[in-house]
Amino acid sequence: MEQHILYTIAAILSVAIFTFLWRDNPFYKFAEHLVVGVSAGYFVVILVTTSLIPKLLDPAKRVLAGASTTLLDPLVVIPAILGLLLFTRFIPKYAWISRIPIAYILGVGSGAAIPLVLQTYVIQQIYPTMTLFQPGSFNGTGALVNNILILGAVLCGLAYFFFSARHEGVIGGMSKAGIWILMIGFGASFGYTVMSRISLLYGRVDFLVFEWAGPLVRLISG
């Protein structure tokens, strides 16, 4: 019985979101504000259960219970202090201190990114392009022609992204071919995704008709 209630609430809220397709209206505003509040609360609870308790409260409890020898484990205390420094934003005079934890976060993020992004986005794309014509990496003339086209297309694509050269002459020609190739790729990627988006809607309509309305009608008439 309880499932019918939950599914009915879910169905009503789903329809409220669908009404946004017609235009902004009170039903949508209600569902929107409700889901923002509920999702913010959900993430706070998940953060507490998966991060706060295991990473902060448990070590602290162990220290209070005298179980762990070191009085204050620096690996927990230092980040806790960094986190507390964030709260200086509430005091206008000392708000600049909150830049310290932010500086740390940006330092970790961008420092790790410098080599990683070069490896995954650049080197790991250059390597397969180099081996397009390595003996044994293609079979048949069809694959050979395709690989030649791929090589040409990658070089033209790169030409399109040249910023510091006027797009004239050879560079101009290659970059024009480059944008064409990019557009063919974008069109193909768009067309490819349509099927998964349609199945999302099919899933929701299927839920509304067969998992909510059907059983409810049977329950009432049953």
């Binding site: 879910a10 809220l13 789903s14 979101i17 669908f18 505003k29 409700l34 509040g37 509920v38 913010a40 609360g41 959900y42 706070v44 609870v45 953060l47 991060s51 690996l75 230092i78 980040p79 986190g83 964030l86 830049r99 310290i100 500086a103 740390y104 330092g107 970790v108 420092g111 790790a112 410098i114 080599p115 990683l116 992004v117 986005y121 650049v122 392009t129 395709n146 086209l149 791929i150 297309a153 033209c156 694509g157 992204f161 064409w180 190739i181 557009m183 063919i184 790729g185 974008f186 069109g187 193909a188 768009f190 067309g191 490819y192 349509v194 099927m195 988006r197 999302l200 809607l201 929701r204």
Partner: protein, 204 residues
């Protein structure tokens, strides 16, 4: 002092993290693991800033009697409900916390996701117009792949599935590679500028 200390912190942590990437040794791995743990712990405190901003915004709206204040009550009620239900009834399958997830969060987010089916159609209808050569290329490529993906398309134009596969395996793959190489260089340069303090969002 207000600008030099943060700049120094970003520079030092940035250098350490960049170098750590090349060192597989146990200590380097522990350093990486510790940095991730620290990010999570700082993240715990940062959520307080987030929730404070959210609550403050809507409490002000209520006090100022702005239009739509009743919706702010609903938002704060939703927030309170989830936190209280987790404290009182825990977070397992039968708890009111999970009922809130099943009855509100899950259906609304998956319906928002499902709106894409409508928007992909309206975007295609409005934007895929043969305005220029590039726009025509985009629209033809999209139509061919769409027809190639469904049996009805194959019945309409035999062999279209092969063309659609070719479009996905040759031009689309080459385009992705060219964009990736550009993004890699641009991304790495941006990260370097932040570490060196040339472009410093945190020091403004």
């Amino acid at each position: 002092m207000q600008r030099e200390l943060p700049r120094l912190i970003t520079l030092v942590t940035g250098m350490f993290m960049a170098i750590q990437y090349f060192i597989p040794h146990k200590h380097s791995e522990q350093f990486y693991q510790t940095s991730l743990d620290w990010l999570i712990i700082v993240g715990i405190f940062s959520i307080v800033l987030g929730i404070a901003s959210l609550v403050n915004l809507h409490v002000n709206k209520i006090q100022r009697r702005d239009a739509g204040t009743k919706y702010s009550y609903i938002l704060l009620a939703g927030l309170l409900y989830m936190i209280l239900s987790a404290i009182l009834t825990g977070t397992d399958q039968q708890s009111f916390f999970m009922k809130g997830y099943i009855a509100v969060l899950n259906p609304i987010t998956s319906t928002m996701f499902a709106l894409l089916a409508f928007y992909i159609a309206s975007a295609a209808f409005r934007a895929f117009r043969a305005r220029s050569l590039i726009a025509t290329i985009l629209l033809v490529s999209a139509v061919v792949v769409m027809l190639g993906r469904v049996p009805a398309g194959e019945d309409l134009i035999p062999g279209i599935a092969k063309v659609s596969d070719w479009l996905l395996n040759v031009p689309n793959m080459a385009a992705k590679r060219a964009i990736s190489i550009g993004l890699g260089l641009g991304g790495s340069a941006t990260a370097l500028k932040v570490v060196l303090g040339i472009e410093a969002p945190h020091l403004r």
